[in-house]
Amino acid sequence: MIEKFVSSVPEALHGVKDGATILIGGFGAVGQANTLIEGLIDQGVKDLTVVANNAGYGNVGLARLLQQRRVRRLICSFPRISGSTVFEGLYKAGEIELELVPQGTLAERLRAAGAGIPAFYTPTAVGTRLAEGKEVRVIDGKEYVLEHALHGDVAFVEAWKADRWGNLTYRSSGRNFNPVMATAGALTVVQTQHVVELGELDPETIVTPGIYINRILHVPYGDPQG
């Protein structure tokens, strides 16, 4: 029997090592697997590279992970949202590296990683500071920037419903980066609000098929705050 559900946070995070690259889904406060992130703090790993659209808010989840100095490098499109004070302090003090990536390039680098594409050319950022030092190629008379796939050692995904094979659905804008990060992690760990029996999810409506998922933890926390 295939059973991807685990019963504790330590089980969900077993084997995550210092120096790992962690992909964290979520857009602002919505669709972010905070229980798994907080679990990393308790587990004690450090020197992490975190890939996330934002840099956390308030003093929970990702912001707390940053505050605990566990993250060496953040790969991010928009670290400057209101309430993102922890990151800003660390950045000004030179205590965290930032790789700023246009949001669509970030999403596509993750998609490429999950799809076996090592690199791709994109029109985004041509002629800007964010393309400096990158290969530019003219295709059909137009310039494109070469961007590389972005793989995770671990991906944290927040789902709305999950079955024991790891088939997932999401809730409205809680979907965001989660499905694409699910494909790009060597170890993909899900935090789900609801558990359903195998067969309960209509195959027509499954957003992430279980093939991408390794472990699932049931965390019925309610609504996102912030």
Partner: protein
């Protein structure tokens, strides 16, 4: 600084600028609106005109803000504000959302800007090297991907410098991307040969408008 003592004109308000943009959006277009004045445009499109609003975080068919007692905490727009969905709306993930953008499926994107140049260059994501942590979001993808890029912004900075310029001084968001500019003074089409005047507010002469505009205006 502008000498406002004898002026015979009144700049448009933020809402009036948004209304002028909205009036130019035809039924059937799929539109992405940036943060600030662009966000106000959605409320100015008459409910009888079907315009589909896209949000980078995976929404097509985004509706207005909910009443305070009807907030769904899972449903936010790209500015992380709570929103609603209209009938016919759909959800999709970030890679699909930006495939729509880069793949030239959006009819229009409306953004704010610090500066726009006569050649269509836009600077709207950062004004300095290291003042705060830089942030770019989806601006660079939207600027190169949408079929049309309209900028809506004040004509001048608070300290009286022109924002419609010959060459952008701030770091670029995209080269040659802007197709139209709406300001609180005037409107321009950005064509291959430069900045064509579409409209100027009542009481402002072309000479006066040109004095507030660094780039050369082509008037008809």
């Amino acid at each position: 600084m502008m000498d406002d003592t004898h002026k015979t004109w009144t700049p448009l308000s933020r809402k009036e600028m948004a209304a002028r943009v909205a009036a130019d959006i035809p039924e059937g277009w799929v539109v992405n609106l940036g943060i600030g004045v662009p966000t106000l445009v959605a409320d100015m499109v008459p409910a009888t005109r079907e315009v589909v609003f896209h949000s980078e975080n995976g929404l097509l068919g985004m509706g207005p803000a909910p009443s305070p007692d009807a907030i769904d905490r899972w449903l936010v727009n790209a500015g992380k504000q709570h929103v609603t969905m209209v009938s016919g709306g759909s959800y999709f993930h970030h890679a699909d959302s930006f495939a729509m953008i880069r793949g030239r499926h959006l009819d229009l994107c409306v953004l704010g800007a610090f500066e726009v140049a006569a050649n269509g260059d836009i600077a709207n994501w950062t004004t300095s090297a290291d003042e705060t942590a830089p942030a770019v979001g989806g601006a660079m993808d939207l600027a190169v991907g949408a079929k049309r890029l309209w900028v809506v912004m004040d004509h001048m900075t608070k300290d009286g410098r022109a924002k419609v310029v010959e060459t952008c001084r701030f770091p670029l968001t995209a080269r040659g991307a802007v197709t139209r500019i709406y300001t609180n003074f005037a409107e321009f089409d950005v064509n291959a040969d430069g900045l064509h005047l579409r409209h100027v507010i009542d009481g402002m002469s072309l000479e006066e408008l040109q004095s507030y505009t660094e780039a050369k205006i082509i008037a008809h």
